[in-house]
Amino acid sequence: MKFQQIDQFAAELRADTRAAVYDGSKKGHEKRTKLLFDEYPDPNRLRVLAGQVKQHVIENLDTYLPAVEAKLKANGVIVHWAATADAANETVLKIMRARGATKMVKAKTMVSEETELAHFLEKHGMEALETDLGEFIVQIDHDHPSHIVKPIIHKNRREIATSFEKNGLGAYNDDPQTITRRARQFLRHKYLEADVGLTGGNFISAESGRLVLVTNEGNSRFCLAATKCHIAMVGIEKIVPRDRDLALLLNLLARSGTAQDLTVYTEFISGPKSATQPDGPEEMHVILVDNGRTEVLASDCRDILRCIRCGACLNVCPVYRQASGHAYRSVYPGPVGAVLSPLLMGDRFKEKADLPKASSLCGACQEVCPVNIPIPDLLLRLRDKGKQEGLSSPGTPPMGAWALLASQPLAWKASLIGGRLMNYLPTKLVPVPALRAWEAKRTLPPWRGGEFRKWLHNRPPKT
């Protein structure tokens, strides 16, 4: 292999896909930063604090999980536990069968992406329809989401219009408004026919057992207004200690994710509908899903479990912007995915051990993370883990020569002189394959080796 896997994917990416991902993520990042810094004198204080709250939760999950379970039960919720993806899917299927249900409408949930719930249910004869516009388009296209908040960031309107036409949703029309209206018209009747609404959960409060769901489109609300049974699949790390902590986290989530002060719909659910309410679920289930999280908790990368899935680290990441989400071959792409995805593989860590290497460790991901996860540190730990496990690094340039130079001052000085020669040599002739591969995509700046030493020697003394 010429490049590392992510680089290889990026090299083959269609230009319009790259442009769509690049523009979408860059714009998202710029809006986020402007909003946070316009509104708060020191947004970093909020991020650090929110990180401490979530770190506290994950380091005390042994007490928080039973506490949440007790609250949920007291609220009239039926609680299930699922150690694996299969167990989670089976639980959903069992609930549906027990009700004689055949139709489900689904809100966007990353856990159900992990478990591939929709496929599983369809295999068992159930209809499981995605209702988030982006996820719906992904579903009819048999595609995969490429961003955790903006699932079709990689698609343009022409592709969407084509698949709408193919799926009988009207003649070709690539006007975004028309596309949205057609989805509205089609989906509203689907909600009303369905018996079960499935959602994830952004937070669960241990204090009250409230499940908090945020969406902009209103699709999760529609699931919970039209159907009679609500199933929520929630990762075990989604707990917050108290309701008041939601004030901090909700403010950060929307601003970091989509540069909004608050998501349009923020729903607090603590059980089946009230007795006087004609619409909505009479039965509510929460499935607490592990699916590899306890292994992450046991590792020295447990901080990644703070993640509130805002997508800010994807938007800011120079690698994500160039490579797009599918390059990560995982449900979770970008910096969060480079840490979480290999860990969630468990014994099969090896298959995704290359992901932590696809980073320049620039640190931008931690700077934007609303829960201040030290992603660059975690990436380094995972690189080390790969090394300890003796995994090879296909496509990674050999660094032996570099290590030698960097540890031998005389060799280093000699190389500086050699480097200067490079300015006069066409780089095509340089016999280092890694350098040539690098050069295929970029132009090398002129060699200026030795400048730093000069500067260091000549700098004015400190006053």
């Binding site: 769509a20 979408g24 509104e39 005390n60 699922a82 509203r188 002060d261 659910i269 309410q277």
Partner: protein, 204 residues
Amino acid sequence: MSDDREAILGRVRSALAPLTERAALPAYDTEIAVLRQLLANRDPLAVFADRLRGVNGTALTDIPALVKQLREGKWLHGYCDPALWPRLAPHFGPEFEVETVYDRTRVDDYAFGITRAAGGIAELGTVILKDRSTSHRLAALTPWVHVAVFSRAELFVDLPQAIAALGDDPNIIWCTGPSKTADVEGILIEGVHGPGVQIALVLD
């Protein structure tokens, strides 16, 4: 699955066992997250109206203004919570067809839905719907126009205040502007699954 429960909790306990110290819950004041500058020395209702406008919603303080807006939008057929209708009815002309029973088999018939809200949040332009006071979840969601009616005294100043007042209703939803998406090329489109027009009618 009860085996899964034991398996998960067992693994959580053994994962945490080696930690010599556990991160403490930091003490903090939720004030840190409040946009206090925005609220300082201003009438909360004025802030609410500004903030709702900022997310393309509208705050109204009298019934004739609501009727005018519905008429101008040609939204003439809709639903109104029967508890609110006696107060609103005198302002609606004969061109309107208003039903006080919501029929879910005719979702496309209702251009507007007028329902009771439990309050609002000035800081964000949010309206609060609680299950016990909302006559129909669907009536607040399926029509193109949603009108949320609450009284000025029910307006919270900031988000932490509204959190503190969540109470024991089993379902509370905060709606901040019309339903929207930017999934297609990042272009903002309103009225995806829920209302494309969000109005708050704040009465004395």
